[in-house]
Amino acid sequence: MPVAPSATDALLSVRDLRVAFGALEVVRGLSFDVHPREVLALVGESGAGKSLTARALLGMLPRGTTTSGSVRLRDEPGSYAELMGATRPTLAALRGRRIALVPQDALSALSPVHPVGDQLAAAVRSVTGLSRSQARARAVAALDRVGIPDAASKARAYPHEYSGGMRQRAVIAMATINEPDVVVADEPTTALDAELQDQVLRVLGEQREAVGAALVLVTHDLGVVRDHTDRVLVMYAGRQVEQGPTHRVLDRPRAPYTAGLLASLPPADGEDGPAGGPHRRGGSGRRRRLPAIPGSPPAPDALPPGCAFAPRCPLAEDRCHREEPGPWTVGDGHEVSCHRWDEVPYPATELFLERPA
């Protein structure tokens, strides 16, 4: 492999991670490191394998999956615990305390029949020798820290008495209450509206600062990536297409898939484009078309040969349909898997404007 980042100071070090359902490989060889206080985004669309990757980090894959590769969690400086193939008790001892998951669906992560505070206190008591009342006090403090108003009385309430945003915060409080080194958040905001999304991400960021943890954030939202992460790993059809410092990847994407995703976003506030006035379509009555990536992502059982993105890629040439590309390092910590990475224009607007039918 051309890239072997030094793993000495990483909290989490993943090498050639593969996840398969039977003969069907859905995560196809991912390698990345996560450093203290770093936020790494795993970006991809549904079916790209990002949620399976997140769960594989905690050994929490559904039945019927097989995994290979290496997932190492730093024990103490210089020493790592291998999670891949670790026994159930070993994993159970690490989960919550050293590495924790904020799942996508906050409601299913909480038991409906116990008060939220009791569930947090139970999580505390499962890893510490604290008394019931001490654990309760810590639960209330954790709810308070994630911004739940009147935490002491809310700790006695049941999940159904919480709003969606409060539930998501309670789950974050639960995941971080034992101060894990690595927090894996699987689309923690997808079900929330825009204001709550910002709040929840801010809470996650504060937790990271407070406990010095690293964060792996699974998302498909490039706006979230830009505003909240340090590094980004872009996945397509189970493989990495691009990885690097967030500003480098988003400011100068080298993979056509990343460039196409960015080009297809409507301009954000303050960028070019007509002002939000009432009648901004020109005299012709036609509004501007968005650049768009043609086609749809491939199903995992129908992957094309060569580069999986080639059938949708305006730059694809013969070898793209034959050989899987890269990864190659193209700059400071920036890796890309594309045969034509040095020809990808930016912005890629023209490349992805639909040709008239």
Binding site: D193, R280, A292, I293, P297
Partner: protein
Amino acid sequence: MNQPTALLDVRDLVVRYGRVTAVDQVSFTVDAGETLALNGPSGCGKSSTVAAVLQLRRPDGGRVRFEGRELTALTERELRPLRPRIQPVFQDPYGSLSPRHRVRDAVAEPLRVQGRWDATGPARVAALLDRVGLDPAYGDRFPHELSGGQCQRAGIARALASEPRLLVLDEPVSALDPSVRAGVLNLLADLQDDLRLAYLFICHDRAVVRHFADRAVEMRGGRLVPA
């Protein structure tokens, strides 16, 4: 502004659930060929407004005037011939098509139900699929055999089969993969330009709203606030 020509004219709309007022004196208009975006956080009353516009729930106060007719004054029987002209497109593309029907039959169903099915039916279904950018061969497939974007296109084709004037688009792209979102937005824009469709567009993504909508209103706590 309140031209008598507005395609949809909602005035002082009120929806209550028991003692809770979910929609409180909301007024807006949508003209033919125009997109009005309706925004707001969860629980602000958007969905209750949509249900009242679709007359899936009769409002507790106010007026819903469509093509000059007062829908709230009509009986269910009188409403029936008007219903095809206001069609919803929902967020979850798979949830809006029956999993047991082939795409072809899902698109044909409005034609059959409305008594407009004849020898030209199959060709019309094929033309509708083509119109939304789906190869008519996809008509043989079931929804689960389509990607999210393809399924949403099929849902749009089904809505178009009723020859609507107004589409109520409830978060039509927020469940779609980012790489196919722009294509579906482009399709909706083309359909609007070609068919002079009016859109009531529910969407929480501000950038999408700015790109796509002619005007935007925002709801909070059941009331309209300045966007």
